[in-house]
């Protein structure tokens, strides 16, 4: 009797320890709390309501990109073209407005462009057999080149109808609520639902975790990978539409650097670059954490040119943290196995 209660006790403790150390979403939450505490003591203005509100509002574009990136990372790929795709889709929506198309048609055109770029990535990877890294790097080149040639380097302007101010979040929807917040929530529900509760989502995890295993189980690996890239292309398009509204003009370099932020946010949120692991909630918290860190250094007065260094540093730290959590979880599991076999520690 005594031994069973002892065993039960031990497994409960182990379970809590395992969860805290292993669950990446809890890890990023801890990091976020840490940043907030750090800020609360040094810079009370950080915890100011309007600062926090701005911070979350500013993180939305990266958040949407990070959610799309998470889908690709889970399925074992990586999408380096996500930032330039966003810019290209912003350009498409703006140009379509200038061309005289109605708003919904302009938005549809942007989404179609995003899906098309995703499909292109998927085809380069599955049909030509290019590595994900190379294919999407090439797509980054194509997309930004097309946008430059098309705009001749001059930002697209003159498309800002009142609705676009709402889409960009410049005009709030109701009270403090902005449309980008609603859109980010919708994207989260859709992508989170797909990853967690659908066949397609299971196939994303399966392909990312073991391509041969998935193939032998009858999963059509190429199609699944293509789907993942289409989702990241669509996420880029959604982000691009918001950016077109928020920025009020579309310069050719609108998307520069966003791929790094998207990858960083996804990885902070626990997505593994080796595939098979990642959560939408993690990407959301990751994007907010990233925005909080950037916000903090802005408040401290560090020049904004240092931002990229900070983002790079956070990316390295996040990958290390993921690896440490994997090692710790392995050890915990090993110890648990020993305990079950009845070996005293």
């Amino acid at each position: 009797m005594e031994t069973t209660s002892l065993k039960k006790n031990q497994t409960v403790v182990d379970r809590v320890v395992t969860r805290l150390l292993v669950d990446p979403t809890l890890g990023v939450l801890a990091l976020l709390v840490l940043i907030c505490l750090l800020a609360a003591f040094t810079l009370p203005v950080f915890l100011n309501g309007s600062n926090l509100y701005n911070l979350v509002n500013n993180s939305l574009v990266v958040m949407i990109l990070a959610m799309g990136m998470t889908v690709v990372l889970v399925s074992g790929g990586i999408d380096l073209s996500i930032g330039t795709t966003m810019a290209l889709c912003a350009g498409v929506s703006a140009a379509a407005m200038n061309f005289g198309l109605p708003l919904f048609a302009a938005l549809l055109a942007a989404l179609a462009m995003g899906a098309l770029v995703g499909l292109g990535n998927g085809l380069l990877i599955t049909r030509l057999g290019l590595p994900d890294f190379i294919a999407t790097l090439a797509m980054l080149g194509f997309a930004s080149g097309v946008l430059y040639i098309w705009t001749k380097g001059v930002p697209i302007i003159g498309y800002m109808v009142p609705e676009f101010y709402i889409i960009g979040g410049l005009t709030p929807l109701a009270g403090p609520l902005t449309l980008p917040m609603v859109i980010a929530l919708l994207v989260a529900l859709v992508l989170g639902g797909i990853l967690g509760f659908t066949r397609m989502g299971t196939h994303f995890f399966a392909v990312g975790s073991s391509k041969t295993g998935a193939m032998q189980s009858g999963v059509r690996v190429d199609r699944v990978r293509m789907q993942a890239y289409i989702f990241s292309g669509l996420a880029a398009a959604v982000a691009g539409i918001i950016m077109a509204g928020r920025n009020t003009n579309v310069p050719a370099d609108l998307g520069n650097g966003y791929e790094i932020q998207a990858i960083a946010a996804a990885v902070i949120g626990g997505a593994a670059l080796s595939g098979g692991r990642g959560r939408i909630l993690g990407a959301i918290l990751g994007a907010i954490t990233l925005a909080a860190a950037v916000n903090l250094i802005n408040l401290v007065g560090v020049p904004s040119s240092y931002q990229k260094i900070v983002i790079g540093g956070i990316l390295v730290a996040a990958v290390l943290a993921n690896r440490i959590s994997a090692i710790v979880s392995g050890k915990v599991r090993q110890r648990k196995a020993m305990v079950l076999e009845g070996i005293p520690a």
Partner: protein, 528 residues
């Protein structure tokens, strides 16, 4: 669960005729046939490169044949992709596990065949509760609990993974189950357990195609055996009417006596007393893994390490090589205390190891055979330890190729194009090339065929006869007994016993007795 599958007019469930397959000019299969009756265990045998894997890949829809027909219950099948095979009721348990580590048992079982429920008017939501209901009784029949269903399979051991694969195959209408070396990586008792599962399947009317290298496993279990050699069909025999020697003859086309089967293999000579000590471990510990290990290995001696999976055998080898840190205890090499910070230090001091998992840890698949051989001691084939002398590297590899009988047309060939047994020999050559005092073999014959196995055994014997010392780790106790002078037994990180003078015992005909004694100690029953 499933209705009995109907045989065709000739009484066969599966009738494969005239299947040929060529890969870039190489004939992998040359018009082979295979006939499987309903509810039988049909062994598919052959050496490495006989074409078994190719046929299995064809039957599971992973590759298409160039010609030939596949009939199941009298209907012709066109298997273009894995779903076609699964849909026809042909399930395959591949040697390289086809489970996805990140998914739970339940999601793995239904992977590719998920059950959906309606959500918001769309038929897209996974119905995990329904899926669980469907497999619960089947899973518990095979010893999987409800909690197991919700755990990622990456956390399970080898046997449990295989059981998950069996359940995955049976959860659907399986008429033919193909098992490709299902016992590799399993312990003795786990094998017996698996064999019980196989008998139960046959009892349910499922036919099994079973690929194995362990011929002694067949008797009492398999009904029929079909033998392939070099991509051709040699013949089909009833297992009760045949013998290991006959099957060996069919597989390799030569008299079985040349292979030195178990009865004649006790050719190890007892090493002389008062030998020079090569390695001594005193009270070596590694937290949770190794406890108070003390042992010595002498010149000219093979020390066997027995134990079940998880007993700490591989971990001990890794600790000796400096790959894992030891928390307390001392290691003496030829009388001097040593402490290795990593394995390259161990290599420099005269230790070498043949790692357990050849594909993942051993070979460098994209490099040539000669580069694979010289990689651990490149200073032998380079100027000032810096600039490689390609010609020396090749001629060195050439001499090993002849000495060890590595079958390759050219030592500059990429090693991944060689068969498993020849890859293993190349890795042995790599270890020998470092001129070690002590060589550790971790599962030296896993996944290689009988003839290659005997050759690897001979290499180990030759190495110690020339003054080397060796540690051999093997799950197959028979193999351990044949090779070792002494066997020590590990359990849960401790040494729990040892058997000395093994060759003496073999000469006096006590092979089975020694084997059973070791088995009893590894399983934890008390020794008299």
């Amino acid at each position: 669960m499933t209705e009995r599958p109907a045989p065709d007019a000739d009484g066969f469930l599966l009738n494969v005729q005239g299947i040929s397959k060529h890969y870039q000019g190489v004939t992998a299969l040359d018009a082979v046939g295979l006939q499987v009756r309903p509810a039988e265990i049909h062994a598919l045998l052959g050496g490495n490169g006989a074409g078994k894997s190719t046929l299995i890949n064809i039957l599971s829809g992973l590759t298409s044949p160039d010609s030939g027909t596949i009939m199941l219950s009298g209907n012709r099948l066109e298997l273009r992709r894995p779903t076609d095979a699964l849909g026809s009721g042909i399930n395959t348990i591949h040697q390289e596990l086809s489970l996805v580590p990140a998914l739970t048992t339940l999601d793995n079982i239904f992977l590719g065949r998920e059950v959906n429920a309606r959500f918001l008017g769309l038929n897209v939501r996974l119905d995990r509760r329904h899926m669980e209901d469907r497999v619960r009784s089947l899973a518990s029949e095979f010893g999987l609990t409800e909690e197991d269903l919700k755990l990622p399979v990456g956390e399970f051991g080898a046997l449990k993974k295989r059981v998950v694969e069996i359940v995955k195959a049976l959860a659907f209408d399986t008429r033919l189950l193909i098992l490709d070396e299902p016992t590799s990586g399993l312990e003795e008792e786990e094998r017996l357990n698996l064999f019980e599962h196989m008998r139960r399947l046959r009892g349910k009317g499922v036919s099994l195609i079973w690929v194995t290298h362990h011929l002694e496993e067949l008797f009492g279990l398999a009904d029929t055996a079909t033998v392939f050699r070099d991509g051709r069909l040699v013949g089909t025999v009833e297992v009760p009417d045949t013998s290991v020697d006959d099957l060996l003859g069919m597989m390799f086309g030569i008299a079985a006596g040349e292979f030195g089967s178990t009865a004649t293999a006790a050719v190890v000579t007892e090493a002389e007393e008062s030998r020079e000590e090569v390695l001594r471990l005193t009270d070596v510990n590694r937290s949770y893994i190794l406890r108070d290990i003390s042992l010595t290995v002498h010149k000219g001696e093979v020390l066997g390490i027995a134990g079940l999976a998880g007993a700490g055998r591989t971990e001990l080898a890794r600790a000796i090589m400096g790959i894992d840190k030891i928390s307390s205890g001392t290691v003496h090499l030829k009388g001097k205390a040593v402490k290795f910070s990593d394995s390259s230090a161990a290599y420099q001091k005269g230790l070498a190891m043949l790692p357990e998992d050849r594909k993942q840890l051993g070979i460098l698949p994209e490099l040539s055979v000669s580069e694979n051989i010289s990689i651990s001691s490149l200073d032998r084939v380079s100027w000032l330890g810096f600039v490689l002398k390609g010609r020396d590297e090749v001629s060195q590899a050439e001499s090993y190729r002849q000495r060890l009988g590595i079958k390759t047309a050219d030592v500059r060939e990429k090693i991944r194009n060689l068969s498993g047994g020849n890859q293993q020999k190349a890795i042995v050559a790599r270890c020998l090339n470092t001129n070690p005092d002590l060589l550790i073999f971790d599962e030296p014959t896993q996944g290689i065929d009988v003839s290659a196995k005997v050759e690897v055994h001979n290499l180990i014997r030759e190495f110690v006869a020339n003054g080397g010392a060796a540690i051999v780790i093997a799950s197959e106790i028979g193999e351990l007994v044949e090779l070792s002078h002494r066997v020590i037994i590990m359990k849960k990180g401790r040494l729990v016993g040892s058997v000395d003078h093994v060759p003496h015992a073999l000469v006096s005909g006590q092979f089975e007795a020694v084997k059973n004694r070791i088995l009893a100690m590894s399983a934890g029953r008390t020794e008299s």
